[in-house]
Protein backbone atom coordinates (compact mmCIF):
# COMPACT_ATOMS: atom_id res chain seq x y z
CA UNK A 1 0.00 0.00 0.00
CA UNK A 2 2.75 2.40 0.91
CA UNK A 3 6.45 2.40 1.54
CA UNK A 4 7.86 2.31 5.02
CA UNK A 5 11.37 2.21 6.34
CA UNK A 6 10.14 0.25 9.35
CA UNK A 7 12.08 -3.00 9.39
CA UNK A 8 11.28 -6.27 11.02
CA UNK A 9 13.89 -5.46 13.64
CA UNK A 10 12.18 -2.15 14.39
CA UNK A 11 8.95 -4.00 14.86
CA UNK A 12 10.68 -6.39 17.24
CA UNK A 13 11.98 -3.36 19.10
CA UNK A 14 8.42 -2.12 19.49
CA UNK A 15 7.19 -5.51 20.59
CA UNK A 16 9.92 -5.62 23.19
CA UNK A 17 8.61 -2.25 24.40
CA UNK A 18 5.14 -3.75 24.47
CA UNK A 19 6.50 -6.55 26.62
CA UNK A 20 7.82 -3.98 29.10
CA UNK A 21 4.46 -2.18 29.09
CA UNK A 22 2.72 -5.47 29.69
CA UNK A 23 4.97 -6.56 32.54
CA UNK A 24 4.87 -3.18 34.33
CA UNK A 25 1.09 -3.23 33.97
CA UNK A 26 0.83 -6.81 35.16
CA UNK A 27 2.94 -6.10 38.26
CA UNK A 28 0.98 -2.94 38.99
CA UNK A 29 -2.42 -4.53 38.52
CA UNK A 30 -1.70 -7.74 40.42
CA UNK A 31 0.06 -5.96 43.28
CA UNK A 32 -2.38 -3.06 43.30
CA UNK A 33 -5.38 -5.35 43.26
CA UNK A 34 -4.10 -7.51 46.13
CA UNK A 35 -3.40 -4.40 48.18
CA UNK A 36 -6.62 -2.75 47.04
CA UNK A 37 -8.74 -5.73 48.05
CA UNK A 38 -7.05 -5.81 51.45
CA UNK A 39 -7.45 -2.06 52.03
CA UNK A 40 -10.94 -2.02 50.55
CA UNK A 41 -12.17 -4.80 52.84
CA UNK A 42 -10.48 -3.09 55.77
CA UNK A 43 -12.09 0.24 54.93
CA UNK A 44 -15.54 -1.25 54.60
CA UNK A 45 -15.26 -3.00 57.96
CA UNK A 46 -13.71 -0.38 60.22
CA UNK A 47 -15.16 3.00 61.14
CA UNK A 48 -14.43 5.98 58.87
CA UNK A 49 -12.48 7.51 61.75
CA UNK A 50 -10.19 4.55 62.15
CA UNK A 51 -9.70 4.45 58.40
CA UNK A 52 -8.71 8.10 58.22
CA UNK A 53 -4.91 7.62 58.07
CA UNK A 54 -5.27 4.98 55.36
CA UNK A 55 -7.74 7.10 53.42
CA UNK A 56 -5.39 10.06 53.65
CA UNK A 57 -2.41 8.17 52.26
CA UNK A 58 -4.44 6.61 49.47
CA UNK A 59 -5.85 10.02 48.59
CA UNK A 60 -2.30 11.26 48.05
CA UNK A 61 -1.69 8.47 45.57
CA UNK A 62 -4.89 9.34 43.79
CA UNK A 63 -4.43 13.10 43.64
CA UNK A 64 -0.72 13.65 42.94
CA UNK A 65 0.01 13.21 39.21
CA UNK A 66 1.57 9.84 38.52
CA UNK A 67 4.53 11.41 36.75
CA UNK A 68 5.46 13.36 39.88
CA UNK A 69 5.11 10.23 42.01
CA UNK A 70 7.41 8.29 39.69
CA UNK A 71 10.10 10.96 39.56
CA UNK A 72 9.98 11.66 43.30
CA UNK A 73 10.09 7.98 44.20
CA UNK A 74 13.03 7.38 41.88
CA UNK A 75 14.89 10.41 43.21
CA UNK A 76 14.16 9.36 46.78
CA UNK A 77 15.43 5.83 46.36
CA UNK A 78 18.56 7.18 44.69
CA UNK A 79 19.24 9.60 47.56
CA UNK A 80 18.54 6.89 50.10
CA UNK A 81 20.99 4.70 48.23
CA UNK A 82 18.64 1.74 47.99
CA UNK A 83 19.83 0.91 44.52
CA UNK A 84 16.38 -0.11 43.29
CA UNK A 85 16.21 -0.27 39.51
CA UNK A 86 13.90 2.15 37.68
CA UNK A 87 11.83 -0.83 36.54
CA UNK A 88 11.19 -2.05 40.07
CA UNK A 89 10.56 1.50 41.28
CA UNK A 90 8.03 1.93 38.48
CA UNK A 91 6.27 -1.29 39.37
CA UNK A 92 6.02 -0.32 43.03
CA UNK A 93 4.77 3.19 42.36
CA UNK A 94 2.25 2.01 39.81
CA UNK A 95 1.07 -0.74 42.14
CA UNK A 96 0.47 1.75 44.95
CA UNK A 97 -1.27 4.09 42.51
CA UNK A 98 -3.46 1.21 41.32
CA UNK A 99 -4.18 0.09 44.87
CA UNK A 100 -5.50 3.54 45.77
CA UNK A 101 -8.12 3.35 43.03
CA UNK A 102 -8.78 -0.33 43.59
CA UNK A 103 -9.46 0.31 47.28
CA UNK A 104 -12.27 2.68 46.36
CA UNK A 105 -13.71 0.21 43.85
CA UNK A 106 -13.64 -2.62 46.39
CA UNK A 107 -15.08 -0.53 49.19
CA UNK A 108 -17.87 0.75 46.96
CA UNK A 109 -18.69 -2.73 45.69
CA UNK A 110 -18.76 -4.18 49.20
CA UNK A 111 -20.96 -1.39 50.45
CA UNK A 112 -23.32 -2.02 47.54
CA UNK A 113 -24.18 -5.44 49.01
CA UNK A 114 -27.51 -4.88 50.76
CA UNK A 115 -27.22 -5.15 54.53
CA UNK A 116 -30.36 -7.28 54.63
CA UNK A 117 -28.62 -9.91 52.47
CA UNK A 118 -25.72 -9.98 54.90
CA UNK A 119 -28.12 -10.22 57.82
CA UNK A 120 -29.77 -13.18 56.15
CA UNK A 121 -26.39 -14.88 55.86
CA UNK A 122 -25.50 -14.21 59.50
CA UNK A 123 -28.92 -15.30 60.68
CA UNK A 124 -28.31 -18.70 59.08
CA UNK A 125 -25.34 -19.12 61.42
CA UNK A 126 -22.65 -18.11 58.96
CA UNK A 127 -19.61 -16.51 60.53
CA UNK A 128 -18.31 -13.08 59.63
CA UNK A 129 -15.71 -14.70 57.40
CA UNK A 130 -18.21 -17.00 55.69
CA UNK A 131 -20.51 -14.08 55.03
CA UNK A 132 -17.57 -12.26 53.46
CA UNK A 133 -16.33 -15.10 51.27
CA UNK A 134 -19.64 -16.74 50.34
CA UNK A 135 -21.92 -13.74 49.97
CA UNK A 136 -20.14 -10.40 49.98
CA UNK A 137 -17.19 -11.16 47.70
CA UNK A 138 -19.16 -12.87 44.92
CA UNK A 139 -21.80 -10.14 44.97
CA UNK A 140 -19.22 -7.34 45.13
CA UNK A 141 -17.22 -8.89 42.31
CA UNK A 142 -20.15 -8.43 39.98
CA UNK A 143 -20.55 -4.81 41.01
CA UNK A 144 -16.88 -3.90 40.92
CA UNK A 145 -15.65 -5.79 37.86
CA UNK A 146 -16.49 -3.15 35.20
CA UNK A 147 -14.67 -0.44 37.17
CA UNK A 148 -11.76 -2.79 37.77
CA UNK A 149 -11.46 -3.52 34.04
CA UNK A 150 -11.52 0.22 33.41
CA UNK A 151 -8.79 0.70 35.99
CA UNK A 152 -6.63 -2.01 34.43
CA UNK A 153 -6.93 -0.52 30.95
CA UNK A 154 -6.19 2.92 32.39
CA UNK A 155 -3.08 1.70 34.19
CA UNK A 156 -1.82 0.14 30.98
CA UNK A 157 -1.99 3.52 29.26
CA UNK A 158 -0.64 5.40 32.29
CA UNK A 159 2.30 3.02 32.42
CA UNK A 160 3.76 4.93 29.46
CA UNK A 161 4.89 7.51 32.01
CA UNK A 162 7.59 5.18 33.27
CA UNK A 163 9.59 6.24 30.21
CA UNK A 164 10.55 9.28 32.28
CA UNK A 165 12.67 6.98 34.41
CA UNK A 166 14.50 5.91 31.26
CA UNK A 167 12.53 2.73 30.69
CA UNK A 168 11.84 1.88 27.09
CA UNK A 169 8.28 0.71 27.03
CA UNK A 170 5.95 0.69 24.04
CA UNK A 171 5.31 4.41 23.68
CA UNK A 172 8.97 5.33 24.23
CA UNK A 173 10.03 2.73 21.69
CA UNK A 174 7.72 4.22 19.13
CA UNK A 175 8.98 7.73 19.91
CA UNK A 176 12.52 6.59 19.25
CA UNK A 177 11.47 5.11 15.92
CA UNK A 178 9.51 8.22 14.98
CA UNK A 179 12.56 10.36 15.63
CA UNK A 180 14.76 8.08 13.59
CA UNK A 181 12.45 7.24 10.67
CA UNK A 182 10.32 10.40 10.54
CA UNK A 183 7.15 8.41 9.88
CA UNK A 184 4.98 9.46 12.81
CA UNK A 185 1.62 8.54 11.31
CA UNK A 186 2.45 4.99 10.42
CA UNK A 187 4.43 4.24 13.56
CA UNK A 188 1.78 5.68 15.87
CA UNK A 189 -0.81 3.66 14.01
CA UNK A 190 1.17 0.49 14.68
CA UNK A 191 1.69 1.55 18.30
CA UNK A 192 -2.03 2.15 18.74
CA UNK A 193 -2.78 -1.23 17.23
CA UNK A 194 -0.41 -2.91 19.68
CA UNK A 195 -2.01 -1.12 22.65
CA UNK A 196 -5.38 -2.23 21.35
CA UNK A 197 -4.20 -5.82 21.00
CA UNK A 198 -3.01 -5.75 24.61
CA UNK A 199 -6.24 -4.22 25.94
CA UNK A 200 -8.75 -6.10 23.86
CA UNK A 201 -8.54 -9.48 25.63
CA UNK A 202 -9.01 -7.82 29.01
CA UNK A 203 -12.00 -5.81 27.85
CA UNK A 204 -13.48 -8.90 26.20
CA UNK A 205 -13.01 -10.99 29.31
CA UNK A 206 -14.81 -8.34 31.33
CA UNK A 207 -17.78 -8.10 29.03
CA UNK A 208 -18.05 -11.87 28.75
CA UNK A 209 -18.16 -12.28 32.53
CA UNK A 210 -20.66 -9.46 32.82
CA UNK A 211 -22.88 -11.02 30.22
CA UNK A 212 -22.75 -14.39 31.89
CA UNK A 213 -23.71 -12.87 35.22
CA UNK A 214 -26.44 -10.78 33.69
CA UNK A 215 -28.13 -13.87 32.35
CA UNK A 216 -28.57 -14.89 35.96
CA UNK A 217 -29.79 -11.65 37.42
Amino acid sequence: MFDTALTFNDLLFMLKGAGVTLSVTAFAVVGGTLLGVFFGVLRSQISPWAALPLTFVLDIFRSVPLLIQLILANAFQAIAGWGISPFVTSCIVLALYTSAYCTEIVRGAIEAVPSVTRRAARSLGMTWGQDLTQIVFPMALRVGLPSWIGLTLGVMKDSALVMWLGIIELLRASQILVTRLQEPMFILLVTGAIYFALSFPIARLGSRLEKRWQEND
Binding site: P114, V116, R119, S123, L124, G125, P138, M139, N216, D217
Partner: protein
Protein backbone atom coordinates in the same frame (compact mmCIF):
# COMPACT_ATOMS: atom_id res chain seq x y z
CA UNK B 1 -38.47 -22.23 74.98
CA UNK B 2 -37.78 -18.54 74.30
CA UNK B 3 -37.82 -16.40 77.42
CA UNK B 4 -37.77 -12.66 76.97
CA UNK B 5 -37.38 -10.76 80.22
CA UNK B 6 -37.61 -7.02 80.64
CA UNK B 7 -35.82 -6.28 77.37
CA UNK B 8 -34.88 -2.69 76.69
CA UNK B 9 -33.35 -1.52 73.45
CA UNK B 10 -32.51 1.92 72.08
CA UNK B 11 -31.12 3.21 68.83
CA UNK B 12 -29.25 6.28 70.01
CA UNK B 13 -31.75 8.41 71.86
CA UNK B 14 -34.71 6.51 70.44
CA UNK B 15 -36.13 3.97 72.87
CA UNK B 16 -37.51 1.20 70.71
CA UNK B 17 -38.20 -1.55 73.26
CA UNK B 18 -39.22 -0.50 76.75
CA UNK B 19 -39.28 -3.61 78.89
CA UNK B 20 -40.66 -6.54 76.90
CA UNK B 21 -41.62 -9.74 78.73
CA UNK B 22 -42.70 -12.73 76.69
CA UNK B 23 -42.26 -16.48 76.94
CA UNK B 24 -42.83 -18.70 73.94
CA UNK B 25 -43.18 -22.43 74.57
CA UNK B 26 -42.12 -25.18 72.20
CA UNK B 27 -44.79 -25.77 69.60
CA UNK B 28 -46.44 -22.46 70.21
CA UNK B 29 -47.35 -19.95 67.50
CA UNK B 30 -47.31 -16.36 68.70
CA UNK B 31 -48.33 -13.56 66.36
CA UNK B 32 -47.13 -10.05 67.00
CA UNK B 33 -49.25 -7.19 65.71
CA UNK B 34 -48.96 -3.44 66.16
CA UNK B 35 -48.37 -0.18 64.39
CA UNK B 36 -45.31 0.52 62.31
CA UNK B 37 -42.33 1.59 64.41
CA UNK B 38 -43.62 -0.12 67.54
CA UNK B 39 -40.48 -2.29 67.79
CA UNK B 40 -41.71 -5.61 66.40
CA UNK B 41 -38.86 -6.17 63.94
CA UNK B 42 -36.32 -5.00 66.47
CA UNK B 43 -37.48 -7.62 68.95
CA UNK B 44 -37.01 -10.40 66.39
CA UNK B 45 -33.48 -9.27 65.52
CA UNK B 46 -32.67 -9.17 69.24
CA UNK B 47 -33.90 -12.73 69.71
CA UNK B 48 -31.28 -14.20 67.38
CA UNK B 49 -28.63 -11.76 68.50
CA UNK B 50 -28.39 -9.71 65.34
CA UNK B 51 -28.92 -6.67 67.57
CA UNK B 52 -27.54 -6.17 71.07
CA UNK B 53 -29.89 -5.20 73.88
CA UNK B 54 -29.44 -2.56 76.57
CA UNK B 55 -31.12 -4.24 79.50
CA UNK B 56 -32.91 -7.45 80.44
CA UNK B 57 -32.22 -10.83 78.90
CA UNK B 58 -33.35 -13.26 76.25
CA UNK B 59 -32.87 -16.95 76.94
CA UNK B 60 -33.33 -19.61 74.27
CA UNK B 61 -33.39 -23.19 75.58
CA UNK B 62 -31.34 -22.13 78.56
CA UNK B 63 -28.76 -20.16 76.58
CA UNK B 64 -28.67 -16.46 77.22
CA UNK B 65 -28.46 -14.87 73.76
CA UNK B 66 -26.53 -11.78 74.71
CA UNK B 67 -24.17 -13.36 77.23
CA UNK B 68 -20.56 -12.72 76.33
CA UNK B 69 -19.61 -16.40 76.05
CA UNK B 70 -22.57 -17.39 73.88
CA UNK B 71 -21.65 -18.77 70.48
CA UNK B 72 -24.17 -16.84 68.40
CA UNK B 73 -23.34 -18.66 65.18
CA UNK B 74 -24.23 -21.91 66.88
CA UNK B 75 -27.33 -20.52 68.53
CA UNK B 76 -28.60 -19.13 65.23
CA UNK B 77 -28.70 -22.63 63.72
CA UNK B 78 -31.75 -23.32 65.81
CA UNK B 79 -33.44 -19.96 65.28
CA UNK B 80 -34.50 -19.36 61.69
CA UNK B 81 -35.60 -15.91 60.61
CA UNK B 82 -37.31 -14.72 57.47
CA UNK B 83 -37.33 -11.02 56.77
CA UNK B 84 -39.80 -8.68 55.16
CA UNK B 85 -37.37 -7.60 52.43
CA UNK B 86 -36.39 -10.14 49.79
CA UNK B 87 -32.89 -11.31 50.57
CA UNK B 88 -32.05 -14.18 48.28
CA UNK B 89 -28.37 -14.62 47.53
CA UNK B 90 -28.60 -13.39 43.92
CA UNK B 91 -25.45 -15.10 42.67
CA UNK B 92 -26.66 -18.57 43.67
CA UNK B 93 -29.41 -20.73 42.23
CA UNK B 94 -32.44 -21.54 44.33
CA UNK B 95 -30.94 -24.90 45.23
CA UNK B 96 -27.57 -23.34 46.12
CA UNK B 97 -29.30 -20.68 48.20
CA UNK B 98 -30.79 -23.43 50.32
CA UNK B 99 -27.77 -25.73 50.50
CA UNK B 100 -25.23 -23.02 51.34
CA UNK B 101 -25.80 -22.79 55.08
CA UNK B 102 -26.18 -26.54 55.70
CA UNK B 103 -22.89 -27.08 53.87
CA UNK B 104 -20.88 -24.19 55.26
CA UNK B 105 -22.36 -23.92 58.73
CA UNK B 106 -23.21 -27.53 59.49
CA UNK B 107 -20.44 -28.98 57.35
CA UNK B 108 -22.84 -31.26 55.49
CA UNK B 109 -21.77 -32.93 52.28
CA UNK B 110 -23.21 -31.65 49.02
CA UNK B 111 -25.39 -34.72 48.51
CA UNK B 112 -26.97 -34.65 51.96
CA UNK B 113 -27.49 -30.91 51.78
CA UNK B 114 -29.14 -31.17 48.39
CA UNK B 115 -31.41 -33.92 49.59
CA UNK B 116 -32.63 -31.74 52.44
CA UNK B 117 -32.88 -28.70 50.20
CA UNK B 118 -34.98 -30.50 47.61
CA UNK B 119 -37.22 -31.78 50.37
CA UNK B 120 -37.71 -28.31 51.85
CA UNK B 121 -38.15 -26.64 48.47
CA UNK B 122 -40.81 -29.20 47.55
CA UNK B 123 -42.41 -28.48 50.88
CA UNK B 124 -42.86 -24.82 49.96
CA UNK B 125 -43.85 -25.66 46.39
CA UNK B 126 -40.65 -24.76 44.57
CA UNK B 127 -39.53 -28.20 43.44
CA UNK B 128 -39.60 -27.05 39.82
CA UNK B 129 -37.33 -24.03 40.42
CA UNK B 130 -34.20 -25.71 41.75
CA UNK B 131 -31.77 -24.45 39.13
CA UNK B 132 -33.32 -21.07 38.56
CA UNK B 133 -31.68 -17.87 39.82
CA UNK B 134 -33.67 -15.85 42.35
CA UNK B 135 -34.14 -12.91 39.98
CA UNK B 136 -36.44 -15.15 37.95
CA UNK B 137 -38.73 -15.76 40.92
CA UNK B 138 -41.81 -13.79 41.84
CA UNK B 139 -41.86 -12.09 45.23
CA UNK B 140 -43.98 -14.85 46.69
CA UNK B 141 -41.60 -17.49 45.38
CA UNK B 142 -38.62 -15.59 46.77
CA UNK B 143 -40.20 -15.52 50.21
CA UNK B 144 -41.02 -19.21 50.04
CA UNK B 145 -37.44 -19.87 49.04
CA UNK B 146 -36.28 -17.87 52.07
CA UNK B 147 -38.55 -20.03 54.23
CA UNK B 148 -37.08 -23.21 52.74
CA UNK B 149 -33.59 -21.81 53.29
CA UNK B 150 -34.35 -21.28 56.96
CA UNK B 151 -36.03 -24.70 57.28
CA UNK B 152 -33.04 -26.48 55.74
CA UNK B 153 -31.08 -25.72 58.91
CA UNK B 154 -33.75 -27.70 60.83
CA UNK B 155 -34.32 -24.87 63.28
CA UNK B 156 -36.33 -25.34 66.44
CA UNK B 157 -37.81 -21.87 66.13
CA UNK B 158 -38.63 -19.65 63.20
CA UNK B 159 -39.20 -15.91 63.38
CA UNK B 160 -41.21 -14.33 60.58
CA UNK B 161 -41.04 -10.58 60.12
CA UNK B 162 -43.97 -9.44 57.99
CA UNK B 163 -42.97 -11.86 55.27
CA UNK B 164 -45.98 -10.90 53.17
CA UNK B 165 -45.93 -7.13 53.36
CA UNK B 166 -43.61 -6.58 50.41
CA UNK B 167 -45.77 -8.84 48.22
CA UNK B 168 -48.41 -8.06 45.64
CA UNK B 169 -51.80 -8.88 47.14
CA UNK B 170 -52.36 -11.89 44.89
CA UNK B 171 -49.13 -13.48 46.13
CA UNK B 172 -49.84 -13.13 49.84
CA UNK B 173 -52.02 -16.23 50.02
CA UNK B 174 -49.39 -18.71 48.83
CA UNK B 175 -46.92 -17.55 51.47
CA UNK B 176 -49.48 -17.54 54.27
CA UNK B 177 -50.47 -21.08 53.27
CA UNK B 178 -46.85 -22.10 53.73
CA UNK B 179 -46.80 -20.54 57.20
CA UNK B 180 -50.03 -22.32 58.11
CA UNK B 181 -48.55 -25.60 56.98
CA UNK B 182 -45.57 -25.09 59.28
CA UNK B 183 -47.80 -24.12 62.18
CA UNK B 184 -49.88 -27.27 61.66
CA UNK B 185 -46.69 -29.32 61.73
CA UNK B 186 -45.95 -28.01 65.19
CA UNK B 187 -43.13 -25.57 64.39
CA UNK B 188 -42.52 -22.99 67.09
CA UNK B 189 -43.08 -19.63 65.46
CA UNK B 190 -43.14 -15.94 66.22
CA UNK B 191 -44.91 -14.17 63.39
CA UNK B 192 -44.89 -10.42 63.11
CA UNK B 193 -47.79 -9.82 60.76
CA UNK B 194 -50.26 -7.36 59.34
CA UNK B 195 -52.57 -10.15 58.27
CA UNK B 196 -55.17 -10.12 61.02
CA UNK B 197 -57.12 -13.11 59.76
CA UNK B 198 -53.89 -15.13 59.68
CA UNK B 199 -53.07 -14.06 63.25
CA UNK B 200 -56.56 -15.00 64.32
CA UNK B 201 -56.69 -18.41 62.62
CA UNK B 202 -53.18 -19.70 63.18
CA UNK B 203 -51.87 -18.30 66.46
CA UNK B 204 -52.07 -19.73 69.93
CA UNK B 205 -51.54 -16.25 71.29
CA UNK B 206 -51.51 -12.75 69.82
CA UNK B 207 -49.34 -9.97 71.22
CA UNK B 208 -50.10 -6.34 70.53
CA UNK B 209 -47.13 -3.96 70.51
CA UNK B 210 -47.54 -0.26 70.99
CA UNK B 211 -44.64 2.21 71.13
CA UNK B 212 -42.09 -0.28 72.40
CA UNK B 213 -44.38 -1.87 74.97
CA UNK B 214 -46.30 -5.11 74.74
CA UNK B 215 -49.61 -3.51 75.56
CA UNK B 216 -51.64 -6.70 75.52
CA UNK B 217 -51.28 -10.42 74.92
CA UNK B 218 -53.89 -13.13 74.86
CA UNK B 219 -55.71 -15.78 72.90
CA UNK B 220 -56.74 -14.64 69.43
CA UNK B 221 -60.43 -14.70 70.34
CA UNK B 222 -59.81 -12.45 73.29
CA UNK B 223 -57.53 -9.97 71.48
CA UNK B 224 -59.76 -9.68 68.43
CA UNK B 225 -63.10 -10.19 70.19
CA UNK B 226 -62.61 -8.51 73.52
CA UNK B 227 -59.48 -6.30 73.60
CA UNK B 228 -58.77 -4.96 77.07
CA UNK B 229 -56.67 -1.94 76.14
CA UNK B 230 -57.83 1.21 74.44
CA UNK B 231 -54.74 1.18 72.16
CA UNK B 232 -55.55 -2.35 71.01
CA UNK B 233 -59.10 -1.35 70.16
CA UNK B 234 -57.90 1.69 68.24
CA UNK B 235 -55.28 -0.32 66.33
CA UNK B 236 -57.73 -3.07 65.42
CA UNK B 237 -60.33 -0.63 64.21
CA UNK B 238 -57.68 1.11 62.11
CA UNK B 239 -56.67 -2.08 60.31
CA UNK B 240 -60.12 -3.43 59.70
Amino acid sequence: MIEIENVHKSFGALQVLKGIDLTVQRGEVVSVIGGSGSGKSTLLTCINGLEPIDKGRIVVDGTEVHARDTDLNKLRRKIGIVFQQFNAFPHLTVLENVTLAPRKVKGMGRKDAEEIAVQQLSHVGLADKLNVYPSRLSGGQQQRMAIARALAMSPDYILFDEVTSALDPQLVGEVLDTLKLLADEGMTMICVTHEMSFARDVSDRVAFFHKGVMAEIGAPDQIFGDPQQEETRQFLSSVR
